[in-house]
Amino acid sequence: MPAAWILLPLGLGTALVGSVGGLGGAILLVPLLVVLGVDPRLAAPLGIMSVAAGSLAAAPRQLGDGLVHQRLGVLLEIPASAGAIVGALVGNVIDADVLARLLGIVAIGAAFAGATRKGMRNLPSPTFGAEPAGEWPGTLGGSYHLGDEVVPYSARRVPAGLGAMIGAGIISGLAGIGGGFVKTPVMSELMHVPVKVAAATTTFTVGITAAAGLAVFSSQGRVDTHAGAAVVVGSLAGGLLGARVQSRLHPQAARWVISGLLVGIGVLLLVTAR
């Protein structure tokens, strides 16, 4: 196992990236740990701990900024979690390298979809000027602040989004990852949720998935708390910083950052598949 002074900055960097882009971060951390010689069976729990810690650290800031749509997150997490159970149960039927290639192509495709879109779908509206930022009770709509303006939004294509989340969940269960790199593009590109809201909401939901995974790993005795503590200290700091960076990013910039990260993840997956 690498020393704490190596694990801590790795946790910081991946959690920062994860909470800015709503991508989790385990998908970056686990391959890096494996490259450093960590047994994949020990690297996976460290990745999950990083995601859980990053999600916890980012939560107060993102909630306070009104960027998290908890109703949407809870609703979408039900099919995603159910899909993850199915994926975990049938995990052996798909070759790991085939799966990695498939995920790589999905990530690059999602990056392309986000990067090639011009302009903003959800525009500021003076009608909603008095609205506090946040979700509207009883609905899948809400508003967030963009500078001094208020941007209203409403999730579209909800049935398609729920279906896509089953797919994202199955991928999560098959690959043992949080699936944030699928969930954020589904919310922003398919359901037309603003990219910053999608990223913050996914950061909330991947924390739920990670907590369930961590409970399983812990019951199996696969959690190295000393190495995990180094990753968690770094990830708590990274999640905090990531939430600050994300709240200051313009939606267009956030979309470019997420697309760049998705390309990086996609290439990493394609390269690591034998």
Binding site: P137, G207, A211, L214, V223, V232
Partner: protein, 93 residues
């Protein structure tokens, strides 16, 4: 697009934000303790750290259930309860 009648409480979840900040502080203390404390004390701190990371999302969803029930938002309260049920199945499976 039409918004529901603006509620002065909409979007304000100050108590949840404060609770999450407290949980965050406990997680920081426990993880630093697990990193630097030797022997049994370090193990205990590590156990607390894992418990906090596992428990925080469940607490948050539980808080949302009671908030949404109190406000008559039964559909989403039911969804949150269903999610907790799916997570229990996931952990047990």
């Amino acid at each position: 697009m039409t918004a529901p009648v603006p509620s002065p409480l909409a979007g304000r979840q100050r108590r949840l934000v404060v609770a999450l900040q407290v949980v965050f502080a406990v997680a920081v203390a426990a993880s630093i303790g697990a990193l630097v404390l030797p022997g049994r004390a370090g193990d205990v701190a590590g156990g607390v750290m894992v418990a906090v990371l596992v428990g925080a999302p469940a607490l948050r969803i539980g808080w949302l259930v009671q908030r949404w029930l109190r406000r008559g938002d039964r559909r989403f309260a039911a969804a949150a309860i269903a999610l907790l049920g799916v997570l229990v199945v996931a952990v047990v499976t």
